[in-house]
Amino acid sequence: MTSDTPVLGISELHAGIDDTPILRGIDLNIPPGEIHAIMGRNGSGKTTAANIIMGHPDFEVTKGSVELDGEDLLEMEPWERARAGVFLSFQYPQAVPGLQVGNFLRKSVAAIRGEEEAKGAEFRKKLKDAMTQLDIDRSFLGRYVNDGFSGGEKKRFEILQLLLIQPKLAILDETDSGLDIDGIRTVAKGINNAVRGTGSSALIITHYSRILEHVQPDKVHVLIKGQIVKSGGPELALELEERGYEWLEKEAEGLA
């Protein structure tokens, strides 16, 4: 790895599901410490991109490469990717009835950051601080993972994990969806604390620019029909907010 190696390097990525192509040649580099956003309508391939980076078994990569710090992610199992430093905050996190949040967090942190970081007073303090930051009550630890959680609780729980795991790369898939404005502010604060100034990088996948008002991206990419059709600075998100996606879809059709 050289100093200019991106944390996430995606090159000419083609992928799909059940022989249906979804991503049609994506190139994306996220340098250390940067936050990038992918924006696009429903069905543009945003969540597929997140799942492919994380290694969801239903998706098939037909061409291209995905690297983390120069290492081939596509050769790794999902849990190896997690241990290598990739974290995915899910749009719809799975409920696991019977699995207590406290036990789950300890096991997860132990698996990713090592046994030493998942025990003792230091872990408990870190957990308490993160929960305070996200306005999560202590009783949460006795509940079952995402079981009976409201939409907002699920999102805050994902960010709680992000704060504890401190990955190299955080992928945040529609983390703002289903949140009210206070919820967005709380979650955004958690994301900023987890990423800004820590050397971590993030890829924010979103529909709307709301969360980007609170988590300032370094770059914004627009995904249409499985291709990045435009990249720019944070001002691109504002332009999309004002003009929608139609003008870019027309441009993309013209290019095609």
């Binding site: 994380m54 849990w79 997690a82 974290f87 996190p93 799975q94 696991v96 009835p97 699995l99 997860s108």
Partner: protein
Amino acid sequence: MDAASLYKSLDEPDRADHLWRYTPWKRVHPSGDLNEIPSVAAPEITLTCLEDGVALVGISVEEAVVGAEVLPESDEVTASFIRAAAGRAVYTLRVENNFIASSPIVLGIDTGDSACALHLTLDIGRNCEFELITQISGAAPWTGFLRTGRIGDGSILNDVVIGYTDSGTLLRVDSIAIGRDAQVKAGTVSSGSDRTKADLRYKMGETGGHLNVLGSILSANDMHLDHHVEIHHHAPETFSRLDWHSACGGNSRTVGTGMLRVAKGARGADAGQLFHNLLLSEKAEADSIPELEVSEHNVVGCGHGTANGPVDEEQMFYLETRGFDTQEARDTLIAAFLNSTLVEMGSETLHHWLSEHLQDELEDLKS
């Protein structure tokens, strides 16, 4: 008529009967010769408190001459057979009125290594509050365990029976009446024997009785674990729930059959039963048949359901994205599935103890 004569006077159970559909009597009889009532040993019984150094006052196990009668709603074949085989191995768990224990009481039943049988009467007084763990362990090739009796009015009892034998066949029969306003959780944790046939029947014969029947069943290898649960609502304003979780791996088979009967006059009864099966291998088999017979129209609700499926792939992916390797994710999901009912069986202390037991069982099955 004594138990042996009663048994011999009965017809061989019909496989069309709900109780015997999946595990015929011949398969759980100690010798397979249905006319034989073998002479078997008595298991060793101990009564202790989970918390060390606590003296037991107000609760005892006593030898008895005869045990409490079996409910009319129970199956005569299994009950009379165990009573006949048990012979003098008849005991009463006597609990005085207003007995309260803050730590679970452990009734240990050590089968030793020869076939054995036991008839235990539960004589639980009024307004008691305690948790009872009945742990059946040992290496007997055949164990018969019959419980009869009554939970006293107003008592709150968390009653968990753990089948923890190394191998062999366990034939278990419960025939228990729930007293007025009593609140009972009847838990079954089963994972030890090669073959289990359990016929568990509870009578809600007095107003205000409240019963939760819970199962955490883990089967592997060639195990065959068959549990039949009947809850009979006779009195008004009675409540029951059955929530049964079976995780089934290897070449094993689990069977869960349920019967909810709401008799005419059981106004305001509220009853439901759910069976969930987690299939861990292609060769594993799980059958669940819940049944309802409701003769009273003025009820709060009566329902039943069943769900079967393999380990959820999306849950697996979620745990793997959190660093759990494939085997850890799978083991965690199995434990979580069984824990969903385990946690409902009683207090935090009881749950902690049961969870450790379950973890040991999961480790044993992997080794």
